[in-house]
Subunit: 409 residues, 2 copies
């Protein structure tokens, strides 16, 4: 274990890939202190592409089209890619594995099922993040904490969102109420009222961010595009009122927090629905409708569950969706009294924020501190998250090099 009484400053890598599978984000972070006294120093990041064959396996897993041996193998292959990204970061920055105390790896979510469902005699909740920490620890020679969601779910929580503790630590303000909004495949918010204690933080998934628009873009382009880049097509269209009204009837939107949702609920399924009900609407109109649905589901979530109880002055946005002009313009139009800014202005690049957050959560785990917030996830209590995978004792450099030949960045 890297935590020793006489050491106070730790250096870590955070590894993250969101449900959009845009890239494997690697962040280098230094930590001093622990819990609410943690000082976080962001020190750099990079985004590594998924090797294409691996990504297509992942999309098959999300669609449920992999058998059990292929799924279990994919857990290892994702770990190889994550480890490859970490080693690439170290190499680019001339850092040795010895200089890194630990890795916090979120892994790749391929499914999230927070609603209790039967399995044998039991009612269970589950979430699946691929990327075996034992493989990452072996390839890098660095102790790795992985699989953060299981412990919160075991304590009755949704297992998500897990970033709010980190958001509270870094983004809360003494006099201004803030909401952090992450626009990944799914949109989620962390609500930080001014002067709230940690136990007063709330946060939840609001619905789709990019997942519906991405699924539509794939269909409309016959697979040539995987997203509406920059929201340009949506900006050229007009949303359909009737289709939007139908989408806004989705029961998830009315459900009070705590809540979290699998990308599949808002991705392919609703894209199919829109395609079969498109009538005379153009491609651009459909993409505008999807983007408008994202904006509207975020705004209605705020109006229903946040604004009535909390004074919010600022909305700080992160995630791939910040590059979507339709979403950013739509949010500003619908929230004229709220100052909207990008997370980049607060010390950590928007793209790296979640990777930094999972490095922080690993730091909490190794310090024996909880990482979840029961007010956010609905867990019965704060719990220590994750699984700790020890590194090999002193990996021989030769073996490590041979291993990495397979990695594609």
């Amino acid at each position: 274990m890297p935590f020793t009484p006489d050491k106070n400053r730790y250096t870590a890598l955070g590894l993250m890939s969101g449900t959009s599978m845009d890239a494997i984000e690697v962040a280098l972070v230094h930590f001093t202190g622990r819990g609410m006294d943690t000082r976080v120093e962001f020190a750099g990041h990079l985004a590594a592409s998924y090797p294409p064959a691996l990504k297509s396996q992942l999309l098959m897993a999300v669609a449920g089209n992999l058998d059990i041996p292929a799924l279990v193998r994919l857990d290892k292959a994702v770990a190889e890619a994550f480890a490859g990204a970490a080693l690439y970061y170290l190499q680019e920055h001339k850092l040795t594995a010895d200089s890194i105390d630990f890795i916090g790896s979120h892994g790749q979510t391929i499914g999230h099922w927070p609603g209790p469902a039967p399995s044998g005699e039991y009612q269970v909740t589950a979430s699946c993040q691929l990327g075996d920490g034992s493989v990452i620890a072996a390839r890098t020679g660095i102790l790795t904490v992985c699989d953060f969601r299981g412990a919160d779910m075991a304590a009755g929580g949704q297992g998500a969102p897990l970033v709010p503790y980190f958001d509270y630590l870094l983004y809360r303000h003494q006099h201004r109420g803030r909401v952090l909004l992450n626009l990944g495949g799914i949109a989620n918010i962390t609500v930080l009222p001014a002067q709230t204690p940690l136990t007063g933080v709330i946060g939840f998934d609001t619905g789709p961010a990019n997942c519906l628009s991405d699924a539509l873009a794939v269909r409309l382009s016959g697979g040539k595009l995987n997203c509406d880049e920059g929201g340009k097509q949506a900006l050229a269209g007009h949303f359909s009122g009737p289709l939007l009204s139908a989408l806004l009837q989705h029961p998830f939107l009315a459900q009070p927090p705590p809540k979290s949702v699998d990308r599949s609920v808002f991705g392919e399924v609703l894209a199919n629905y829109m395609m079969t009900h498109r009538g005379a609407f153009s491609d651009a109109d459909l993409l505008a409708t999807a983007a408008e649905f994202t904006v509207e589901s975020i705004v209605q979530s705020l109006e229903k569950f946040v604004f009535p109880e909390h004074m919010i002055e600022e909305l700080i946005v992160s995630g791939g969706g910040v590059h979507n002009g339709y979403l950013m313009r739509g949010l500003q139009n619908r929230l004229p009294g709220t100052a909207i800014s990008l997370a980049d202005g607060y010390g950590i690049p928007s793209q790296a924020k979640e990777a930094v957050a999972f490095a922080f959560l690993a730091h909490q785990t190794l310090a024996g501190q909880p990482g979840n917030l029961p007010s956010v996830t609905g867990a019965r209590q704060p719990v220590i998250l994750g699984k700790i995978c020890p590194a090999l004792p002193a990996p021989p450099a030769a073996a490590q090099t041979a291993e990495n030949k397979n990695s594609t960045i």
Copy 2:
């Protein structure tokens, strides 16, 4: 972490279920020292039945008939059953969770694929043990080490067998060469030549133990029986020479160690083969042939890979197969110069031996010590095995009780 410099004696539970899925074995063990200086005190055990609906889900998983969400949920449900078995042990013996320092849980193997196979751009090996350690830690309030095979496989090993270090510690003899034979779904051996150093230990899977006979018994009885209890039917039959010769051509038998194998290689597939080639042979004859194949594959493995290099005086047998009269008689007939005895005579009940071994491996992990033997698994180096799942900070007793209502023992 339970390991502190001023504590020397630790109390642990080991949890294990073999590929036969006979029962969840729970063993209570005390440890003093670490590595080769470990003193193991076996303190008790019980066998808990799998709840029937859970077991049928597991059999579907083994057959590949579960979708991804059902598989991920099953990982949690198996953990609930393992945790229920551990809590039942504590309750029966009036022990509190506080008195247990850690749990070592092997989990339930549903597939083992040690041969490299492609996944995306990578060549990977994999093995799947269900029973999420985070759930076990949450339900019991006890730190849990799980998923032992991944780290060895990440280091290039077969991930199996992992019991040989433990066998060396407890069963080696200064003047007598010993082989430990475990008769589970698969048969595996640990070879302990007299006066061998730890690095001289070898061990490998020899082929089927009960898995072929079990698969045949299910078929021949139309699902009414799940095994040939005590080998009684086999003892009433005569093996078929031609069928046995065909079975002995299986390429796994000729493959030199290190080697390990998935139960599916010798279970359903060979049972199907035998059924379609049974000719005039009776049910009893088929079961005799399966049992003879088990005996012969063990004996030939010893004759081919062990006896030429090592002097072996004793064979110590454990696992459910010790109750099969055909197997035990067959081994004695075929190995007249070897003293055959049951593991029960050496301090640990045969049935509990693997559960004790995984408590030992968890002890090694928490002590920062390797648990695999490269001479056995083929790994490039000794590695620290497993994933460490921290317990909740002080679980509230009320919540824990509510949780366990679901558990069926």
